[in-house]
């Protein structure tokens, strides 16, 4: 945890005293030792260094099938998907009941939660202001991919 301490310009603050550099120091020859001298202990962590954490490996399971989409609108705020967020969409995941999916409706991409139970297929918003989209028999729901994550950046 980082604690931010307010800076007080009034507090007594002085730069550490430094010696002046010598303009012309006397030449001083020292022998170069032919042996390597280990300095200090080797790091005890050396054998335990792991690779760094990569957000890509956290968010993306299948690189060849993963695509990004940007969200516009507020119908999914209940699922923590907000206007401006980036969706991570994986086409290799089979869409199932309960998944958040990217569907194609009227030639537009739409993000909704898939409800597929007992032959009933609906797309649910996660915001009470938006009614669910229902599909009748013979109507086709085209799921483009399954949303497997979101990425958001905040203005700071």
């Amino acid at each position: 945890m980082t604690t931010i301490v307010p800076f007080k310009p009034t507090s007594a603050f002085a730069p550490p005293c430094l010696q002046r550099a010598e303009i012309d120091p006397a030449v001083c020859m020292l022998p170069l030792l032919q042996y390597r001298i280990p300095a200090g202990f080797s790091s005890p962590a050396e054998d335990y260094i792991d690779k760094k954490l990569d957000l890509n490996s956290y968010l993306i399971r299948n690189k060849a099938a993963t695509y990004f989409f940007r969200v516009i609108g507020n119908s999914m705020t209940g699922a923590h998907i907000h206007d401006g967020d980036m969706l991570v969409v994986d086409r290799s995941v089979e869409p199932k009941h309960g998944h958040i999916v990217l569907a194609v409706i009227n030639n537009e991409y739409t993000v909704k939660r898939l409800y597929a139970c007992n032959g009933v297929i609906e797309l649910h918003a996660e915001n009470p202001a938006y009614p669910p989209i229902r599909f009748r028999e013979n109507e086709e729901l085209q799921v483009w991919g399954v949303v497997v994550g979101t990425v958001a950046r905040f203005i700071v």
């Binding site: 299948n62 690189k63 060849a64 099938a65 695509y67 990004f68 989409f69 940007r70 969200v71 516009i72 609108g73 507020n74 119908s75 999914m76 998907i81 206007d83 980036m86 969706l87 086409r91 290799s92 990217l102 194609v104 030639n107 537009e108 991409y109 739409t110 993000v111 909704k112 918003a125 938006y130 483009w144």
Partner: protein
């Protein structure tokens, strides 16, 4: 190219074995994306699905990809855009500039998926890939099952439609792919290796000989002239006679059609013996500084390609030309070869040589349409013959500098570091007026998902 040795060994195995089934026959697949550029555009723009779509070449010159609906109208590959304008109005064809960034990324995805099916892969072009299968086909009940699995996985993961052709040779796999594409009854997968010979003969006897991989328009005419019209006729012609008349390449091609594999899978492409970088300008160019900019930029990318195959070149050529289709203009075109005192791959040296050559051939008062550079006398950098009279651009220091330059341009973006100032006003750059967004490679261009 290594195909010679593969040729003889396969050949002998087939000849000496009395029982063909004992021979471990080779099996190749060719996977090809249907209407690749159009399919990539459709993948991210549902409005284009079921519409008539063409993708135009550089500078929006002519149609290089057509959706099936446009093909059905009889629009040929390479039709100039201005000739299409009437059809566009009549049928509402949507035209797009080519978006190579998008196509390149989608191509990478397809090739990645294919590597899951076989480790032996030859990426033949941006939308075509050969797979060497040997025994791998046995993991599936039939090759056709494997083909359908490839088709459905690529479609599921990328939304791109592909066709798959199987054959005992690369030439047959390519032909099988052609059949899979043209004949809907095959459902996108055709396996010539497992097909009964009567059915195969019937198929090959209705395919025009020019469809065979490696038979160009001229050779096709010559074959027609001697009475060989179909693929079957070519396959059944005596190889000795064909060799005497058309040469060894044709003989090899016919062996391939007979199922004797002569062309090996080229998993690593051989280093190129010539590198060309040239383009038509988006608009006509008159001045030397603007031409210099374009030539320097083409040379930079050519030099990068040269280094990426670990080669050096002994000479460069520069050419410039006016637009021969503008008959109202004075015409001029010229080319100059500039030999290098020491072979090099240093962008600084090559750009200097190119600009030196350009200055020699540039004439004032012409409207230039195209410029380009050609690297020739290409050798491996490791076989370099040292010289007493070296200048910069040939030593260890130059190699290190160039490797840093390449790394920077690869890590950040093209032209992050360039040896020649590329002005912000690239009047010579490609004209791509109606280009789609780079949906998969640029944060500002990713498609929108509505949450309404």
């Amino acid at each position: 190219m290594g195909s010679g040795s593969g040729n003889s060994s396969t050949f002998y195995r087939v000849i000496m074995s009395t029982d063909i089934t004992l021979v471990s026959r080779q099996l190749f697949a060719l996977v090809d994306v249907n209407n690749f550029y159009v399919s990539c555009e459709r993948a991210f723009n549902p409005h284009l699905i079921n519409r008539l779509v063409v993708v135009l070449s550089n500078n929006d010159g002519c149609a290089v990809a057509r959706s099936n609906e446009v093909k059905a109208l009889g629009v040929k590959m390479g039709t100039p855009w201005f000739q299409l304008k009437d059809l566009v109005r009549q049928h509402g064809i949507i035209a797009l500039s080519s978006n190579y960034t998008l196509y390149g990324d989608m191509s990478d995805r397809v090739m990645t998926i294919l590597r899951d099916f076989s480790p032996c892969v030859e990426v033949y072009s941006i939308d075509e890939c050969f797979l060497g299968l040997q025994q791998l086909g046995k993991l599936w009940p039939t090759a056709t099952d494997m083909g359908q699995a490839i088709r459905s996985r690529i479609h599921q993961w990328t939304s791109l439609p592909v066709c798959v052709g199987f054959g005992a040779t690369k030439t047959l796999a390519k032909l099988a792919n052609h059949i899979a594409k043209k004949r809907p009854e095959f459902n996108g997968v055709c396996d010539l290796a497992a097909m009964p010979s009567s059915q195969m003969d019937a198929l090959l006897s209705v395919i025009e000989v020019g469809e065979v991989w490696g038979v160009g328009r001229r050779i096709s005419q010559q074959l027609h002239a001697v009475g060989i019209h179909t693929v079957k006729a070519l396959r059944d012609t005596s190889t000795a006679w064909l060799r005497a008349r058309f040469g060894v390449v044709m003989e090899r091609l016919v062996y391939e059609l007979q199922g004797i594999s002569c062309l090996a899978l080229e998993e690593v492409s051989a280093p190129r013996k010539q590198i060309i970088s040239s383009r038509s300008f988006g608009q006509l160019i008159y001045s030397l500084p603007e031409l210099s900019e374009s030539v320097a930029s083409y040379m930079s990318s050519a030099a990068e390609k040269l280094r990426s195959q670990n080669s050096i070149c002994h000479a460069i050529q520069v050419f410039i030309q006016t637009n021969p289709f503008r008959e109202q203009d004075k015409q001029y075109s010229n080319c100059i070869t500039v030999p290098l005192p020491n072979a090099s791959s240093d962008t600084r040296l090559l750009v200097r040589a190119a600009l030196f050559g350009l200055k020699r051939i540039y004439r004032k008062g012409y409207a230039y349409k195209k410029a380009g550079v050609i690297l020739t006398g290409i050798d491996s950098a490791t076989l370099y013959q040292g010289s007493l009279l070296t200048q910069y651009g040939v030593d260890e220091k130059s190699a290190r500098l160039m490797s840093v330059l390449d790394q920077l341009n690869q890590k950040y973006a093209r032209n992050t570091v360039s040896v020649f100032y590329v002005g912000s006003q690239k009047t010579w750059s490609m004209r791509r007026k109606i280009m789609s967004p780079c949906y998969t490679t640029k944060w500002s261009d990713v498609p929108i998902a509505h949450a309404f």
